[in-house]
């Protein structure tokens, strides 16, 4: 099958944003760090997150994360903000910026968790092939 027409169709349809989404202010969210690496003996990451956001529209914004129901912090009539927090991470989650009382996400960043210890130990077998160097 020729995929080009499909891609073109997908691109066209993607241009039709829902009206509610199109009304959201344009904002950007920056978070560091973004990755937690866990292992057998280090199952939790103690991380300090530096979060900042910037919007083209001055409004009331709240910083949320997918692991908690209530906002981490809200700003009144602001177009930028910073926040930092220390927390222990063992599961992936998302920081997201929204407007109060709305579930719509203006911007979001995912914090990933990489687990090095596989539950299936066969995945960690060391082959002794000449061509395998990693």
């Amino acid at each position: 099958m020729n995929r080009l027409p499909r891609l073109a169709l997908a691109s066209c349809l993607a241009g039709f944003l829902p009206a509610a989404l199109a009304d959201l202010p344009i904002a950007r969210l920056f978070v560091k760090p973004l990755l937690c690496v866990t292992d057998r003996e280090a199952t939790v990451c103690s991380m300090k997150f530096n979060i900042r956001w910037k919007s083209e529209t001055q409004a009331r914004y709240c910083l949320n994360d997918s692991a908690r129901e209530s906002p981490l912090r809200c700003w009144e009539s602001a177009s930028a903000g910073t926040h930092s927090e220390e927390r222990e991470v063992s599961e992936a989650f998302v920081y997201w910026l929204g407007t109060p009382g709305s579930e719509q996400r203006v911007a979001e960043v995912k914090i990933d968790v990489l687990r090095l210890d596989a539950p299936d130990r066969r995945r960690e077998r060391r082959t002794r092939h000449v061509w395998d160097v990693l």
């Binding site: 950007r28 920056f30 973004l34 990755l35």
Partner: protein, 305 residues
């Protein structure tokens, strides 16, 4: 609202999800430097069960030395990782296995594999040598024809004998705990190529600090006389003034390695790997062996799909 409009909305929603997911896959490694973009909601997947497939590729520069005379080293530019793990069956970069026992402390499988020694014989060159070089670069004495004892004065063609791949079948037990991990293996040729066997054991331990992991490893392998002699022995009909007959016995090889990774994202890492194998004395003494070791190293970017 018409059905057609609802269908269009559903189609668009599906496409948006696909596009968002594709964007995640593409940009996952660049998240460190890219801010979260507005209007790109991405669903956080729930903790998914382990996928059957493991696909990866390493791209960088590496080399594995070739202990065989008149042979080139084996460059490693791309290291592909193709593996599939089912409940019992698995395929791991050429190895095919069936898990017999899986316990909290260990896993034992029957595994079929290709012998690695044959790979060294795939990059040979034919050369002509004079008395100063007797084929394995150690003797400085004139070459003597073993048949009549006469000194050979002219150039002598040195042809590396052909060796075949062997299919080996055996048992493999993986053990791990807080101390690290170990592998015990016992394999026998089932293809009738060399009729020998190999026993090996290795231990490794991984330390993780932040985004960095270090994994040193140590191993020992015993290869039987039949196996060593098939690959590294020189039969009477293969011998020449420059390549004397040799019968290799069984012996122990030792290896040590270190692998380090710096994880840029879930999928992408900087990888450095080095491995040194000391060949068995019985192999290193062969006129086919130029070196008594195999040194392999690689550094580059490794991507796990």
């Amino acid at each position: 609202m018409s059905d057609a409009w609802l269908d269009l909305m559903r189609t668009r929603e599906t496409l948006m999800r696909i596009l968002a997911l594709s964007a995640w896959c593409t940009l996952a490694c660049a998240q460190e430097i890219q801010p979260g973009a507005a209007h790109t909601p991405v669903a956080v997947p729930a903790a998914a069960p382990e996928r059957h497939w493991r696909l990866g590729a390493g791209l960088g520069y590496g080399n594995r030395s070739n202990p065989l005379i008149q042979s080139d080293d084996i460059p490693v530019i791309v290291d592909l990782d193709v593996a599939w793990f089912g409940k019992r069956w698995f395929f791991d970069n050429g190895d095919i296995g069936f898990t017999l026992v899986d316990r909290p402390r260990f896993t034992t499988s029957v595994v079929a594999q290709l012998n690695s020694d044959r790979v060294f014989f795939g990059k040979t060159n034919t050369r002509y040598v004079n008395f100063a070089y007797s084929g394995y670069g150690r003797a400085e004495t004139p070459l003597v024809d073993p048949e009549d004892g006469a000194v050979v004065t002219g150039p002598v063609e040195v042809v590396i004998p052909d060796r075949d791949y062997a299919i080996e079948l055996g048992f493999e037990t993986l053990v791990d705990g807080d101390w690290g991990a170990a592998t015990l293996r016992a394999f026998h040729d089932v293809s009738g190529t060399h009729g020998g066997y190999e026993l090996s054991a290795d231990v490794s331990r991984r330390w993780t600090a932040g985004r960095v992991s270090f994994s040193p490893s140590l191993g020992v392998a015993y290869k039987s006389a039949r196996m060593n002699d098939y690959y590294w022995g020189v039969n009477a009909d293969e011998s020449s003034p420059a390549l004397p007959a040799y019968e290799a016995g069984g012996g122990f090889a030792f290896e040590g390695g270190l692998q380090a990774n710096y994880y840029l994202s879930r999928q992408l890492r900087l990888a450095v790997s080095i491995n040194y194998e000391r060949l068995a004395r019985e192999v290193a003494a062969s006129p086919l062996a130029e070196d008594d070791y195999v040194l392999a190293y690689f550094s580059g970017l490794a991507w796990t799909f």
